[in-house]
């Protein structure tokens, strides 16, 4: 039984040493290089005084980024990845919640690292990679490691305006990757196509599957996802066989007619997640890439990215709503009603999840952790933690889970989890903003901000870009003289949803 993800890397046989594991548009790196460089980074970190805090990584989408993660694991620490292309304000607020002793950045982000974590020591990734490997020290670290040690902290949108740091253990990560690889049938012949930023939960597959399965992974440039013809060319040039993408990444090529241009010839395994897949989009993909396996995945970061999967076993109809399927191996997924009682087959309840894939909690947030990860209310006999997802579901008679939306104001947009409240908190920081309300127009697939105040929509957009990632900035900003209200004084969100521009 494995107890540390690095054992996956270390059991790489010699005949795979020269195989390319990660590739981006500028560089590629082999298994052997990853093994050597990550040990060098780990040894380099161990030259410094030990800290029990996570080490922050400031980087972006390139082949060396996973190597830095592995180096930190070698040094016996857990890593908190941050994409340096995010707004400084957001990076700084996350760094503040971690209060790291060390931050590792590559050359592009030295300055940003100093700005967002002025009290942390900056370790330069390029210099760490040149450190001499000290097997003895690395061995000593490993000898006291446990499978339940924290592996990484990934930040996700929080409704109060502060992102939440979800802590995941080696055990949880390995459980999920094992289960995913089994469902998708991935092996060393596969080439994965990475879509997600590497600090985001969806990227854990693209980072860890290659070391487990001896597969390769190509980091597809972000712009290609706006330019579907370029995207399909890249899939064919790199002979990409397997992708785990957000629904939006599959929607854009289908709706923009990319299949009239060409077809991804090598793609055989397609997993999508992040939001509900429109039947008409999947139908287009199935028509043009007919012999691929399509899997609908559902699950939150708090359960290591996932809960359930559904293998699509038929040609879908345009208006079909896919189920979210069955729990992955080692996952316990069940429904509770408002009184925390189990829900009978066919009825709706809140989707709850438990098992070794459960996160260790939120970093530096004991109260939020205690509130979110709770004792299973139907178990009075021993300690059993579960996470309540805030999603509604129902089981059918075949044991297949169906999804029925959120219980609160969290949405999924372009594959990302977005708390509409977090956008409002950010918008209220804009000067001369009186009041605002953010709604999601699901018909147009658009986040809309309504506000009252003397500020202009331009000022709001400029300010929001300083504090929020691009996908959270509303592309429709509408000034009103008065907010529509319900008789109890609350903002009438339904009226805003029905708002029609009189232009």
């Amino acid at each position: 039984m494995y107890q540390n993800v690095l054992e996956w890397l270390e059991n790489t046989s010699e005949d795979k040493f020269d195989k390319v594991i990660y590739k981006d548009v500028d560089n590629s790196i082999t298994f052997k290089e990853v093994m050597d460089k990550s040990k060098a980074i780990g040894s380099g970190i161990l030259e410094y005084e030990y800290t029990d805090k996570p080490i922050v990584v400031l980087s972006d989408r390139k082949v060396n980024t996973p190597v830095i993660f592995f180096g930190i694991i070698y040094s016996g620490h857990c890593y908190a990845p941050l994409d340096g292309t995010q707004p400084e304000f957001r990076l700084a607020s996350i760094a503040q919640s971690i209060k790291p002793d060390y931050i590792i950045a590559d050359e592009k982000f030295y300055d940003m690292a100093a700005k967002i974590a002025p009290d942390a020591k900056l370790l330069k990734a390029e210099e760490l990679m040149e450190s001499a490997i000290c097997e003895e020290k690395l061995q000593k670290v490993r000898s006291v490691a446990s499978i339940t040690d924290p592996l990484y902290i990934i930040y996700t949108s929080g409704s109060t305006g502060v992102p939440k740091g979800v802590i995941t253990s080696h055990e949880s990560l390995m459980c999920y990757i094992d289960a995913y690889v089994e469902v998708m049938g991935i092996d060393d012949s596969d080439v994965l196509g990475n879509q997600s930023p590497l600090d985001y939960i969806a990227a854990i597959r693209d980072i860890y599957i290659p070391i487990k399965c001896k597969a390769s992974m190509f980091i597809i440039p972000k712009q290609y996802f706006s330019l579907p013809a370029k995207l399909f060319d890249a899939l064919n040039e790199e002979k990409i066989t397997s992708v785990g993408w957000s629904v939006s990444a599959l929607t854009i090529p289908a709706t923009m007619g990319a299949f009239d241009y060409t077809t991804p010839k090598y793609l055989k395994k397609i997993c999508f997640s992040g939001s509900v897949m429109p039947g008409k989009v999947l139908a287009v993909w199935q028509k043009h890439v007919s012999d691929a396996l399509y899997v609908n995945q559902y699950g939150p970061t708090e359960a290591t990215a996932s809960c359930t999967y559904y293998k699509v076993d038929h040609q879908v109809e345009d208006d079909e709503k896919l189920p979210i399927g069955r729990p992955y191996r080692n996952y316990r997924v069940f429904l509770l009603d408002e009184e925390d009682k189990p829900v009978p087959v066919g009825s709706k309840g809140q989707i709850c999840v438990g098992g070794p894939i459960l996160a260790l909690g939120y970093y530096n947030a004991p109260e939020l952790t205690a509130k979110s990860f709770i004792q299973n209310p139907s178990n009075n006999s021993y300690r059993e933690l579960i996470y309540k997802t805030g999603d509604l579901g129902s089981y059918d008679e075949d044991g297949i889970l169906h999804f029925h939306g959120r219980m609160d104001r969290q949405i999924k947009y372009m594959g990302h989890r977005v708390e509409l409240g977090e956008i409002e908190v950010a918008a209220l920081r804009v000067d001369n903003m009186h009041e605002c309300c953010v709604i999601f127009n699901s018909e147009k697939d658009q986040i809309m901000l309504f506000y009252t105040g003397e500020c202009t929509s331009k000022e709001i957009a400029v300010e929001l870009r300083k504090t929020l990632p691009g996908f959270m900035v509303p592309r429709k900003v509408i000034g009103l003289d008065n907010m529509p209200r319900l008789s109890n004084g609350k903002i009438d969100m339904q009226a805003l949803k029905n708002y029609k521009s009189n232009k």
């Binding site: 996802f225 330019l227 009239d260 996908f471 592309r475």
Partner: protein, 77 residues
Amino acid sequence: MRDELIEILEEIRPDVDFENEENLITDGILDSIDVVSLVGEIDEAFDVQIHVEDLTPDNFNSVDAIIALIEKIQDED
């Protein structure tokens, strides 16, 4: 056409100085959310159909490039 296009662009991204940007796509200023919104709005406003082959960085890097693309498509019709 230019004014109408800039109005469309500024509605989607009021924070960008479209008159002076020459690398809207190459520099990642416009992301996929922006491009998808933009293509829909252009198709509607100028009664054209932008095809997937037209979605290249060169065609979308600047206001002038987008105008050239729209005019090219209009001429072909």
